[in-house]
């Protein structure tokens, strides 16, 4: 993922409207996707959050110091805005209580159980069943391809927490996928 954030923000700080449009093109849909997955909200609300993130970044562009990637910064802001939505929902489970859950040893793999029409719904359902902090690390890794350090910075948690949450998230996701695709309750 290219991240020419510094140059783009410099242009935004100078009032370059084209740079604003480029920022929106590059990130709006991705932030909306993150917000939907992390906060478990609909596309319209997620788009509102994406626009708030872009406005916030635009407003504070001159303060970007270049120590982190623009992507990391954007998703950090998005996470903060999503948490307001999450507080309105029941998500009280301690995300680290299940950290050491093991990957299942599958008799049948999800791929073997995979059927084109059903897979997307199944993956969405399995993802939605995860605790929000697990969803956040998982989608930042798999969709945004952020490093563990970058995820830690975006979410404001230690790298060790990212590592353990990712492991648990993948284990739970795989387990749930096998259940759904295998037709088990």
């Amino acid at each position: 993922v290219s991240d020419r954030g510094g140059a783009l923000l410099d242009r935004i700080a100078r009032g370059d409207a084209q740079a604003l449009a480029e920022l929106s093109t590059m990130y709006r849909a991705r932030i909306q996707r993150f917000a939907r997955a992390y906060a478990g909200i609909g596309p319209e609300l997620a788009d509102d959050i994406a626009q708030q993130v872009l406005l916030e970044v635009t407003r504070t562009a001159e303060r970007f110091e270049g120590r982190s990637r623009l992507t990391t910064w954007l998703f950090g802001v998005a996470k903060n805005l999503c948490r307001t939505q999450l507080r309105r929902r029941e998500d009280a489970m301690d995300p680290d209580a299940r950290v050491w859950r093991s990957l299942p040893d599958p008799g049948q793999s999800p791929h073997e159980l995979f059927e084109q029409g059903e897979s997307r719904r199944a993956v969405r359902e399995a993802l939605e069943a995860l605790p929000a902090p697990y969803r956040a690390v998982l989608v930042l890794r798999e969709w945004e391809e952020l490093s563990y350090d970058e995820i830690a910075e975006a979410l404001g948690v230690p790298v060790g927490t990212v590592r353990s949450r990712l492991h648990a998230a993948r284990a739970l996701l795989a387990e749930r996928l096998i259940q759904i695709l295998g037709g088990r309750p």
């Binding site: 009032g15 916030e56 407003r59 903060n80 997307r120 998982l138 492991h167 996701l173």
Partner: protein, 126 residues
């Protein structure tokens, strides 16, 4: 701790290339000769592929910026226009006013430019 018990929690980080070299070597050596952990590695890979497929589909399905509701688009454009006006005004103000201030007082020189401090806390919130 058996090799499987040591390896299993590190498989994901290994696949992600996020393990230290010595740990990565140990994981690789184990996976090469353990059928159960090799199946788990494949499971991780397949789960990842399915999740990435969902992500791509979501991105493709998201409304493009031009398709958003009119009111919201106007709000976005208005915010962008205000921002551009603000920057333009600040630039014009600096280029026209600051040299005059510098000339007004031979002892003090130009006032240093101080960036506003009362905005942008959200981005810093952990």
């Amino acid at each position: 701790v058996s090799d499987c018990e040591w390896t299993e929690p590190r498989l994901g980080a290994w696949v992600d290339g996020e393990l230290a070299p010595d740990q990565a070597r140990r994981v690789m050596t184990h996976v090469e000769r353990c059928a159960a952990c090799e199946r788990r590695r494949l499971l991780l890979r397949e789960t990842s592929a399915l999740l990435r497929g969902l992500g791509s589909a979501m991105l493709a399905a998201e409304p493009k910026p031009v398709a958003v509701r009119r009111g919201r688009r106007l709000a976005w454009l208005a915010a962008a226009a205000l921002f551009a006006l603000g920057v333009g005004f600040a630039w014009a103000h600096q280029t026209r006013v600051r040299p005059a201030l510098a000339n007004d007082c031979a002892h003090c020189g130009p006032e240093p430019f101080v960036a506003p401090q009362n905005s942008g806390n959200l981005a810093k919130t952990p």
